[in-house]
Symmetry: C2
Subunit: 113 residues, 2 copies
Amino acid sequence: MIGNRMVSVKRKRDIIFRAIADPTRRRILALLRTRHQTVGEIASNFAMSRPAVSKHLRLLRSAHLVVSRRQGTTSRCSLNARPLRAVNDWLRDYEIFWTESLESLKSYVEKNR
Amino acid sequence: MIGNRMVSVKRKRDIIFRAIADPTRRRILALLRTRHQTVGEIASNFAMSRPAVSKHLRLLRSAHLVVSRRQGTTSRCSLNARPLRAVNDWLRDYEIFWTESLESLKSYVEKNR
DNA sequence: ACAATCGGAAACCATTTGGTTACGATGATT
DNA sequence: AATCATCGTAACCAAATGGTTTCCGATTGT
């Protein structure tokens, strides 16, 4: 039912927030912004071992932030940023709390110039 | 120097992303969006113990997402959403990846109607 | 002065996280 | 066919996380 869907949406959002919480995973996303890369290429950018990067990739894939297609022995990883819209939507509820301070500052400047 | 500042900015961002990663902490932020509340009031919304909520609040305070002023025996907690601008700024680098798909869909519709 | 309330800190515990090394499956190369 | 490269998974480990109960300090009210 709808209830189940709602829970699932919330769970998905939790997974996305967890996925982007780690700085290594955010670096991976940034890397894939320029071009798709294989797992080995991604791992070469980090001091940690390849399986460690592989684990991070698994988490990113579970959040659907990274999609990968096997191509021969390699695996082409590419960015899928659409799930980040959930984060964007979440932020919208808080945007007013920083824009309003800008607005009040602006009106202050307007009045006192 | 500038290098140190950069590191500190990155660390701050890490702390913010960690802070909002937990669903309980996001619920706390949502609660404080309506009005400032005491620690006890916040805790009453959760099934967990008050010290558990207190720990979450400590993390949120360390990210400067919650500020609290002691008032008598109680502690007034209020939302400070400004640090979330860092998340917003981070998202801007990915926005194109979901808007471009909307744009391409729009141009497709334009061409084929 | 004393009791009660509020909230933070400490000590403790189970689970999760983030890393390692070792191994195995699969596809390419020779 | 045999070997090599790539990548995922398993087993393991230390540290962090998220929760508990207990206790303590500060403030308020009687």
